[in-house]
Each structure stands twice: as C-alpha cells, then as structure tokens.
C-alpha cells in the first residue's frame, strides 16, 4: 500500500511538469499549425538560464522564474520573426518547418555547449534534499513546488485565453486566420505573441525541471516527445484535456516499474507516443491530427 501511495504521489508530481511543457508545444501548434521541434531546446535553454541566474546572482529558481519566462518569451518572438514567419503555413510547409526548427535546436544545443560545456548540471538549493511527509510518503519539496506551478500556470493561461481580448484574438486566429484579417486582427502579431507564449512555457518548464533533474546541452528530446504525447492525447486548446493526458502519461511511466525492468521504463514514453499517434490520433477530445 505504501508503495502504491509513493508511486501515485510521484506520478501526480510529474504530471504538473508535463502539463506545463505540453501546453507550450500545444498552443503553438493549435494557433500556427507548426510543430516546434526546437521545443526541447528551449526547455534546455530555460534550464541553463535558471542555472546561470542561480550560480551567478544566487537567485532562487522560484524567484528567477519571471526572468526566465520573459527571456523565453523574447526568444520565441525572435524565432517567429526571424525564422518561422518565412515558412508557408499549413500542410505544404510541413517538412520545411520541422527541419527549420530542428536546425535551430542544433544551434541552441551548440551555443549551450560552447557556453557551459557538455557536463551535466542541475540547480541545487537548500530545498533540493528536503522533503515533507504526507500520507506516510516522503515528498520532495522541489517536486511539490513544480506541481504547484504546473497547476497554476495552465489555469492562468486558460483564464487569459477566455477572458482577455488578446486571448480571444488568439483563439480566433486559431480557428480562422483569414477571417481575422478581415475583421482587423493583426494576425502576424498574434502569431509572434503566441509563439512567444509557447516558448515561455517551455522555458518555465525547463527551469522547473532543472530543480529536480540533471540536464546538459543534449537534453530535450525526451521532453519534446513527452510533450507531444500529452498534446496529441489531450487535444489542443483544452486545459482539462492536457491536464488529464499529462496525468495519464505520468501514471503509466511511473507504474511501469511494477512490470518492466527499470532500464526499459525510459522507453515507456516513446512507446506511448507511437501508440497514441497510431491508435488514437484524435486524442481524448476528438481533434484530428491526420491529413
């Protein structure tokens, strides 16, 4: 029983992180119809920025999160304006956008490598080894914080999209960009803002993940794939769907240790990705990913 509680708690904590990551990828795809293959790279960049701020300025990662979010937002706008803008939209642009953003990921990787060397790093604070005891289970404080952020941020985003003018404009562009131009919405501006929001979420997720895991310039591919699983499974534009999908992924990953040797549990996310894409392409809430 204690084992079961431990595992469930682990899964819930992880789900918060996955939800934040996935939302970043999902919002870009939902509005721009572009898969941000550099998503993992931005996550890695967020982790490094947080690490640098912690190392140089002694800033606690939770305090430096606004800085990381802002920086990641600016990075996203830059990525859109300099690169993505030039691509044709829609299925015709498919492989080109993938490869373009993939190229950018390689550049990010190399820049991080030149600045920080390839060694693994992580952010260690006074909280890193502390834990609270809840329901007989030891819960790491860092993970609890990650969960908290992982719940608050998507909720805030949801409210933003529903209640503010900008949020509604974004949703409108997602549905029909041409009509939006007709009614006077600056679609290009919306695109770059949305891209920025997507990357800022990725950066935040990177910062959070740096407090519990180690990272290096090559990190990011696992995060990219897991985000994708959650996005496809949960459907885009649905906070509830994303949250549930994130929980499902986390639960499957964590409980896999009961049936699989530990080494292979790392493959669970990848296998789920393939299964989800092949068998349930519409996700939980019916959005199509084929064609």
């Amino acid at each position: 029983m204690e084992r079961f509680i431990d595992l469930t708690v682990s899964a819930v904590l992880l789900a918060g992180l996955y939800a934040t990551m996935a939302y970043g990828l999902g919002i870009i795809y939902g509005v721009l119809r572009v898969v941000n293959l550099a998503h993992g790279g931005v996550i890695m960049a967020g982790a490094y920025l947080g690490w640098v701020l912690h190392g140089r300025l002694g800033l606690d990662p939770y305090l430096s999160s606004p800085i990381v979010v802002a920086a990641a937002y600016l990075l996203g706008m830059f990525m859109y304006k300099a690169l993505v803008r030039h691509l044709p939209r829609g299925p015709a642009g498919g492989p080109a956008s993938l490869l373009l953003l993939f190229g950018f990921w390689l550049v990010l990787r190399n820049v991080a490598y030149l600045l920080f060397t390839g060694n693994d790093q992580s952010i260690t604070t006074a909280w890193s080894t502390r834990s609270v005891i809840l329901l007989d289970a030891h819960i790491s404080v860092s993970r609890l914080a990650v969960l908290a952020v992982g719940v608050v941020v998507p909720l805030a985003l949801h409210l933003f999209l529903r209640r503010t003018y900008l949020g509604r404009a974004i949703r409108a562009v997602a549905q029909n960009p041409d009509s939006c131009t007709l009614v006077g919405v600056d679609v290009e501006r919306i695109y770059s803002i949305t891209f920025g929001i997507g990357t800022s979420l990725a950066g935040l997720a990177g910062l959070l993940s740096a407090t519990i895991f180690a990272f290096n310039p090559g990190s990011g591919s696992g995060e990219l794939l897991k985000s994708f699983v959650v996005v496809v499974l949960g459907g885009m534009g649905s906070v509830l769907g994303t949250g549930i999908a994130a929980l499902i992924l986390a639960v499957v990953e964590v409980f896999a240790i009961l049936v699989l040797p530990s080494y292979l549990t790392a493959a669970v996310g990848f296998v789920m990705l393939v299964l989800v894409l092949v068998f349930r392409p519409g996700g939980l809430f019916g959005h199509r990913v084929l064609g």
Partner: protein, 320 residues
C-alpha cells in the same frame, strides 16, 4: 527537376558518371593513397549510400524519418552476429542484415499513415525505443559492452570497393526510380495523398515498399560499418545523433534530388574531419545554421546551388 534532365540527357549523365566511378575504383591501385585517406573514402562511400537510401523516404515520398538509425543498428548487429556465429563470407552477412532491417522497417507500417510532422515525431519515438530495447537485449547486442568482431585487415581494405559498388547501385536505383513511373507515383503521394489515392495510387503499399527498401539498404550499410570497425555497440549504432546524420546529409545536399545526398554526404564527412581537427565543438551548430539557411533560401540545398550555377553556363542552354 525534369528541367535538369532536359539539358542533361540520360546518355550524358551516364557518360559523366562512368568515368568518375572508374577513376574512383582505380585510384587506390594507381595512386599511392595513404591508408588514412583510403579509409576515409570508404567511410564517405558508406555515408553516401545511406544518405541516398534515406532520401528515398525523406525526399521522394516526402516523409522525413528521424529514426533511421534503428535499421542501421539492426543491420549491423544481425550481420555481426552472423559473422560471429559461422564462417559466412561478410557480404552475405551484410545482405542478411539488410534483409532483416528491411523487415523491421515494415514494423513501422502503422505509422506510415501519419502525415508530415506526426510521422517524423513518431520516428523519433520509434528510434529511441528501439535503441533502449536493443541496448537492454544483451544476449543479442552485448548490451553496452557491445560486440567485438575478429579483425580482418584485408576486408577493411576491400571495403573501399564494396562500398563504392554499393554507392553505384544505390545511386543508379535512385536515378531510375526518379525517372520511372514509380517515381511519379511517389511524387503524387508526396504532393497530395488523397488526390493520389483517388487516382489509384495506393499510399500504403508504396510507402511500405519504399520504407522497407530504404531500411534494407541502410541496414546493409550497418553491416559494412560493423566489418569496418570490428566493434559495434547499441548506444552508438542506434543513437539519435546517427539518425540526425542521415537527415542532415540528405537535406544539406538537396532532399528529393539524386545528386543531393551524394554531395551532402561528402560535405558532411569532409567537414567533420576538418572541423574535428580545428573546431570540434562547432560542428553541430554549423550544421544547424546550414540547415536553417537551406530551408529559408535554397530548399534544394547544395545541389540547388549547383543547379543555379549550371544554368549560367553556356553548355546548359538548349540547342536552338
């Protein structure tokens, strides 16, 4: 692409191609090549063959695969296991490795329905899952300790011609496919799957076929790689970086063309050697920048650039 053929007739292409191949084949025999250069060229040929095969899927059909290392690894380990098990001549082991790799590629059948980014991301997942699985399957691959093959210097030397032969075969196949009805059918699938289906071009059948062939050839190169290095290990053979290599070679050279992957592979191998000597830490970033430039400015990569240059030359003007 048909414009290229208008100015460069098939006979002209073959006439250009044959002497180059003959020269390359004779080079080690007449010139005093250092062993190092000889080996480097062998590896270049191997990379060219792999890139050409990848391109069938990535360029002709338009489905960009980030997981080709899976087939490369399977081919390599199957070939290595056969060589370790019985005194089978290495080329047969390579072919067996390629065949198994082709069959394994068919395992990706369900994902071939997916379009564009979904397919590509699925291949990342498949590639990584394959790597973890085969690293775990110690009895077959030796796990992280890998497999050691007996050293065969004579074979390593002869690999130069084996690899060159493979390049000739694969590039001829690429060119023939491109010009044939099959090529047109693949182009149709690439442009619009549904319209192609309406015209009776079965996407599933052709994609399966091309993916299996592409995987088989890449698997074959995996077997040759094993014979060359006499030691292979799963994290390296099935690694994501290796999959990325195929993509980079084909795209930088010119995805969808025949000459593209050849140029791309040569540039990739040479650039790597040069950078390793002076700026080892830059090579990934450099490829990233190249990739960005190519996508934004010259989608046909290096071969596109060559095409532009070619158009400026007098010989390319059609006879009036």
């Amino acid at each position: 692409m048909t414009r290229l053929f208008r100015t460069l007739s098939p006979t002209r292409i073959v006439l250009l191609f044959l002497p180059v191949v003959a020269a390359l084949a004779l080079l080690p025999l007449v010139a005093d090549l250092s062993i190092y250069t000889h080996n480097l060229m062998t590896l270049a040929f191997l990379s060219i063959a792999g890139a050409l095969a990848w391109n069938w899927m990535g360029g002709f059909v338009g489905q960009v695969s980030f997981g080709h290392a899976a087939m490369f690894g399977v081919g390599g380990f199957v070939a290595a296991r056969i060589i370790l098990w019985a005194p089978v001549p290495a080329p047969l082991a390579w072919i067996a490795g390629g065949a198994v790799a082709g069959i394994v590629a068919l395992g990706a059948h369900p994902t071939l329905r997916l379009r564009g980014p979904y397919f590509s991301i699925a291949t990342i997942g498949l590639g990584e899952a394959t790597r973890l699985f085969f690293t775990y399957w110690e009895d077959f691959t030796g796990g992280s300790s890998g497999l050691s093959l007996p050293i065969d210097s004579a074979m390593k030397h002869r690999l130069y011609w084996w690899c060159l032969g493979l390049v000739v075969l694969v590039s001829a196949a690429s060119w023939l496919i491109r010009r044939s009805a099959l090529g047109l059918q693949l182009l149709a699938i690439k442009a619009d799957v549904d319209a192609a289906a309406d015209l009776g071009v079965s996407a599933t059948f052709y994609q399966d076929l091309v993916f299996a062939l592409s995987g088989a050839v890449v698997g074959l190169t995996g077997g040759m790689w094993a014979s060359y290095f006499s030691f292979i290990e799963p994290n390296d053979m099935f690694g994501f970086d290796r999959s990325i290599g195929f993509v980079l070679m084909a795209v930088i050279g010119g995805v969808g063309t025949v000459l593209g992957p050849v140029l791309g592979a040569v540039v990739f191998v040479l650039l790597r050697q040069y950078l390793l000597a002076s700026y080892p830490q830059l090579y990934l970033g450099l490829y990233g920048v190249l990739l960005i430039f190519i996508i934004l400015f010259e989608p046909l990569g290096l071969s596109g650039l060559l095409l532009r240059l070619w158009r400026r030359l007098p010989i390319s003007r059609p006879a009036v």
